[in-house]
Amino acid sequence: MKQYRALGGLAALALLTLTACGGGSSNPLSTASSAVPASASGSGSAPAGGAGSVTVGSANFPENVLLAEIYAGALKAKGVQVTKKLSIGSRETYIPGLQDGSIDVIPEYSGVLLQYFDKAATAVSSDDVYAALPKALPATLQVLEQSKAEDKDAIVVSKATADKYKLTSIADLAPVAKDLVLGGPPEFKTRPDGVPGLASKYSVTFKEFKALDVGGPLTVNALKNGQVQAADLFSTDSSIVTNGFVVLADPKSLYTAQNVLPLINKAKLTPAITEALNGVSAKLDTPTLTTLLAKVAVDKKEPADVAAEWLKTNGLG
């Protein structure tokens, strides 16, 4: 529905891009190189041959703002003219903004982005989700290469628990979970990927489930102080770094992949932009993002400064 409405509102631009791209954009890895010159010359909104100019947007939570600052910094370093419109709001607000040209690029998460455009999507692993994205996205939008960084639900244990039971993956919990208490948000008790999912996919059944908060202070403190031995937290939560928690791997993809990746208006793409953003994605992984986010959330540093510092040390800024 949303797709059609958006397309209706942007019929002219969509038509231009569709005709310009022809049929060669189904492979996500080839789109970046093949589609860019075509759409750039077709729409005329990006200066042909130049580095281009974009408006970087972000959702209204610290991690997304930080990612947008990283994108903005990397783009500037490649000579792209960058305007920032950060903390816009939720996906329901900024996706229309991306389609009407208010913003041109935004850091996104692969799983929820796919879900937004395709309610019936079933892909869960990083590769499957990424492969499904180009077909689900409206013709005006495109994702560039995805990073290894993911922000999603994760089963997290304390260092002591991980050492004691030699835990690295959720599957390792199966024989020992009967002695452990799991903490998480109240809905985790009934959510398909919560307690029932752990039981059906990994045969992990905990002694008890304690309903706490959504990755908030109650859950973090309970895990830190031993009221629970395992907890559902977000994989980029700064408390994971500050408390030395261990994130258990999810080899069976109980949680849909949520790789960080740039979502961009195709008409604005230039080779310089592609190069800059793919450069960021190549260097970004979950521990990096978690550490950077901790600098913003815990040390109260400016997202722009944290972004600039990281870009510099990685030769991107």
Binding site: P217, K224, N225
Partner: protein, 262 residues
Amino acid sequence: MIGDVVGWLTDPAHWSGVDGIPTHLFEHVWYSLLAVVVAAAIALPLGLLIGHTGRGTFVVAGLANGLRALPTLGLLILFVILLSPHITGTLVYLLPSEIVLVLLAVPPILTSTYAGVQNVPPAVRDAAEGMGMTGFRVLTRVELPCALPLLLSGVRAATLQCIATATVAAYVSLGGFGRYVVDGLAQRDFPQMAAGAVLVAGLALVADALLVLLERLTVSPGVSGRFGEPAGAGGSGRVRGMSRMVQRFLPLRTNLSRQETS
């Protein structure tokens, strides 16, 4: 919606097990009762003392009313986070829950107790003293029975508040009917949430009815109003001024007023 709630409440699956209504009823009553008993143990002696001596009313009344303004949920989470490094097990959630409930229950019991004692007609107090009662006997034999209706209304208010607020215990992983409210909201299971609210309201009504019954049984008929106003209630200022003189004739005066009112 109402049908859904009734359906939820009458589903046999919700009446057994660790997440069943009987389990959560027991927990809810336990949290509330514990809080009211602890609050009464603090507030009753303090209230009687303040009412009897007339000292500290301003400070204690201000403090008690200040306590009422504390945000329960914020305080609860603060206590959990402060205590969690020092206490293990479920106590780390039970103790903060009880602290915030006691803080809520103390002010109504405290204020109603000292107000009840202070509102005992001075003539009655004077009469008791005139009969040679010691301060402690005046308090227990005269002031306390006279203050009992107001005192018990404070206990009733505190109990209702505790039963309603004990739902926050579920916010920090404990049980009680709050479990249905908190889980129902998080799981978008609104019949469960509404059923939780109905159960809390029902429990509050039952508890209130029981306390009314207690009031009937414990309050002296002379105080509860069956004989009209207690002796000397009207025109207390004048009576107080005359009290020293009247003391001598008290038995007579009491008889007289009984005759007048009955």
